[in-house]
């Protein structure tokens, strides 16, 4: 599992060449609340950053049909763009190996919200309201068999979703050795 301990915690090192520097150069201006309201929209797995609002898969269904289906297919598997929903009952090993989507690959449900909000729809990025993003997130989680159609997704519930594949992710183990890994 990836933890913050997976990477070395850096000491706030002082570079030798900075010893003669002033404490600060004073270039730049303090960040304003307005700037952060506009820019700081990211969402962490612990839910930090999730906005107000909520949505359900049922509410997400018509939004998906109107704004997403043209690229991802009516049920999220047909494309032409990225497959979003698990294809069930695959037997061919090659097809199974490629069947890596939200429901069986993504470690955190918060990522679905974060990504849709920042980048989708591809041709109208940044155009969705927060309730729309909650609803679409709920829709995709439901379509992937993670939640029920009526489960309400909001800042409290979304971080609590347990994604089935989360335990598979491990930190990088290559650098302690010259071995091929």
């Amino acid at each position: 599992l990836i933890t913050s301990g997976s990477f070395p915690r850096p000491v706030n090192q002082t570079r030798p060449d900075t010893l003669a520097w002033p404490k600060t150069f004073g270039f730049g201006k303090p960040v304003t609340t307005q700037q952060l309201t506009r820019l700081d929209t990211d969402v962490r797995p612990d839910g930090k950053g999730l906005p107000a609002g909520s949505g359900t898969a049922r509410q997400g269904k018509p939004i998906y049909a109107a704004k997403c289906a043209s690229c991802h297919g009516p049920t999220g598997v047909e494309g032409p763009n990225d497959q979003l929903v698990i294809i069930k009952g695959l037997t061919d090993p090659a097809a199974k190996a490629k069947n890596k989507v939200i429901g069986n690959y993504w470690p955190y449900a918060t990522t679905v919200f974060d990504y849709i909000k920042r980048a989708m729809p591809f041709n109208q990025p940044g155009s969705l309201s927060d309730p729309e993003v909650y609803s679409l997130t709920a829709f995709l989680l439901h379509a992937n068999g993670i939640i029920k159609e009526t489960d309400v997704m909001n800042a409290q519930t979304l971080p609590n979703i347990q994604m089935p594949n989360r335990g598979s992710f491990v930190p990088d183990d290559r650098l302690s050795t010259p071995a091929v890994r």
Binding site: I2, S4, S6, F7, P8, R9, P10, V11, N12, Q13, T14, R15, T18, W21, T24, F25, F27, G28, K29, P30, V31, T32, Q35, L36, L39, D40, D42, V43, R44, P45, D46, K100, I102, Y105, W106, P107, Y108, T110, T111, D114, Y115, R118, A119, F122, P125, G126, N165, S168, F169, V170, P171, D172, D173, R174, L175, P178, A179, V180, R181
Partner: protein, 391 residues
């Protein structure tokens, strides 16, 4: 020389005035008998030199087989972006640094340029940089053209960390782009203290739009995607964000049901760029040439085999051999015209040795995916054709 210039302008006035492309000029039978083009504003390529990236829907590849030395011309630097190249007005550009910092600060482009600066030559490489093809008819550009090298200039991220007072407890930061993917990656704060750069210049001039104009994150030796372009925000944190790029993408199955995440460093790699498809060669003396690089540090040596991997010889490295940089290698060889396979393998200062594809896939439990850096073999045919062969 006023009169001469008047004459020159009669002949070439348009070029002189308007910087007309040299491609509109035809080479005369004897150029010594024709007055040439006068000095201009911006130079041009010879119309006889056709160089281009190879674009797909999502990336564009550097023509490694057509290049010399280690610097990639900026207009041939590989591209990989997720929602296209944004057109950013530098006057409106701002970089915000906030989160676990004492002084959340917003910097204009001019602010960033006022800080102590640094330049370094290093490579960038997309961690999805491998492609094979069964008929062997692929060039280095197709195989691994998602790597390029520039001299980057900017401000050390550690300088800005110091300026904003990064909390010593911060372990990760989020880097966010101003493109329409609003690209985000979580980066260990330690890399920021170590050698990360916010680059505003590339090969002497402003960073090109395709490479992140006006400012990109540069993480020497780390996978391209983490080097966030069009950088607009850094948020210092005590945990990673698990963004889509670092979960759904840029993670790789390594066997036993495990998926490797945050695999930043690019392993050592090399490729022979001459002779290589589509070049044809004659028997006789051939200088085998290529590039080698490692995200772990310096290339220690490059070994070349001219007998399908049975024996290996040490190639010559072009000085200076820089840290986390493409280095040129050469090996002089006499080809007797018999079919054979030639290949190169890089060894870096950590003793990591570039593997074959089979070794690599075996080490990853049979999986392909990101971070494939296999030895590339070239099969020399009796007719001088040079075909790719997977190892």
């Amino acid at each position: 020389a006023t009169a001469a210039v008047v004459l020159a302008q009669t002949a070439h006035g348009k070029a002189f005035q308007a910087g007309i492309s040299r491609s509109e000029w035809v080479s005369p039978e004897d150029p010594t008998k024709v007055l040439g083009v006068p000095p201009g504003l911006v130079g041009t390529r010879s119309p006889h030199v056709r160089l281009a990236k190879l674009p797909s829907e999502i990336s564009s590849r550097t023509p490694l087989q057509d290049l010399f030395g280690t610097i990639t011309p900026s207009d041939l630097h590989f591209e990989r972006h997720h929602n296209g190249v944004p057109a950013i007005d530098p006057a409106r550009y701002e970089l915000v640094i906030h989160g676990m910092v004492a002084r959340p600060t917003t910097f204009t482009l001019a602010d960033l340029k006022r800080f102590p600066s640094v330049s370094r030559i290093c490579f960038l490489e997309c961690s999805g940089n491998y492609r094979g093809q069964d008929d062997g008819k692929i060039a280095p550009q197709q195989i691994c053209g998602l790597t390029s090298q520039s001299e980057w200039t900017g401000v050390k991220l550690s300088t800005l960390f110091r300026e904003v007072g990064v909390d010593p407890k911060s372990t990760w930061f989020l880097a966010e782009g101003g493109d329409s993917a609003v690209m985000t990656r979580s980066i260990p704060t330690s890399k920021g203290w170590e050698d990360a750069i916010l680059a505003y210049a590339q090969n002497g001039e402003a960073v090109r739009p395709e490479q992140g104009y006006p400012v990109r994150l540069l993480l020497p030796g780390w996978e391209g995607n983490a080097n966030v372009k069009w950088l607009r925000r850094l948020e210092l944190s005590d945990q990673p964000y698990h963004t889509r790029q670092e979960t759904s993408k840029y993670t790789e199955a390594i066997g036993g049901g495990k998926i490797r995440q945050f695999s930043f460093v690019m392993d050592a790699r090399s490729i022979i760029t001459y002779p290589a498809y589509p070049a044809k060669v004659e028997k006789g003396w051939i200088e085998i040439r290529g590039i080698a690089w490692s995200g772990r540090g310096k290339i220690a040596r490059v070994e070349v085999s001219v007998n399908a991997g049975k024996t290996w010889q040490t190639a010559e490295l072009q000085e200076p051999v820089l840290d986390k940089a493409h280095v040129v290698f050469r090996y002089l060889w006499h080809w007797n015209g018999q079919p054979t396979e030639i290949m190169s393998r890089a060894v870096d200062e950590t003793d990591y040795t570039q593997p074959t594809l089979k070794e690599l896939v075996a080490a990853r439990g049979g999986n392909m995916g990101y971070h494939l850096n296999p030895i590339t073999a070239w099969s020399l045919q009796p007719d001088g054709q040079v075909l790719f062969k997977a190892t």
